[in-house]
Subunit: 113 residues, 2 copies
Amino acid sequence: MARIQAIIGLIKDCNVEKLENIELMEEAIEKAGKLMDLTLLETVSHKFSPSGLTAVALLAESHIAVHTYPEDNSIFVEVMSCGRGDAKKVLELMENMLDGKAEIVLDKIIGGE
Amino acid sequence: MARIQAIIGLIKDCNVEKLENIELMEEAIEKAGKLMDLTLLETVSHKFSPSGLTAVALLAESHIAVHTYPEDNSIFVEVMSCGRGDAKKVLELMENMLDGKAEIVLDKIIGGE
């Protein structure tokens, strides 16, 4: 099967207002897709009450997911990609867009036989 | 932040016709959500030409994603869940629905401080 790069990161100390901004988050996912040269098929998102949001983009090369925790100024970011680029770049992009500091929780290659 | 159980599995030796059946895959995701007592917000899916499909369900408690590789009789299954149940049950459910054999690639708790 395909070789999938699995990256999961927690980005801490983010700007809280940005973590609540669903348009910004969709823009971040779109930019992440372009940065990695991935094909976005569809993005779905949901804003929770009173706070937090979640968004997942379906890619031709797997998916990108974000879940925000404004109460902790943090966001969970996951990139599963069969593309060629290094998915860790997405964490750098999100760090910059959300004024936070990323910690890599998982960096693993799955499949590829 | 929340405690997330991250489960990634590869299910091999699946029934190929089932791996191409998008309705069955959406049904499997729905059953997985019920089994784990999770709240499905929205499911998006895409059928590739000539073969394979991908589907992601956005949950109130994170997400479930599947990507099929009919050429290898296999499927990538991922469950990220803040729920209480053991997400490995989803792999058992999918094994049974797809007549395959699951191999756990990742079983990790993220966050939870």
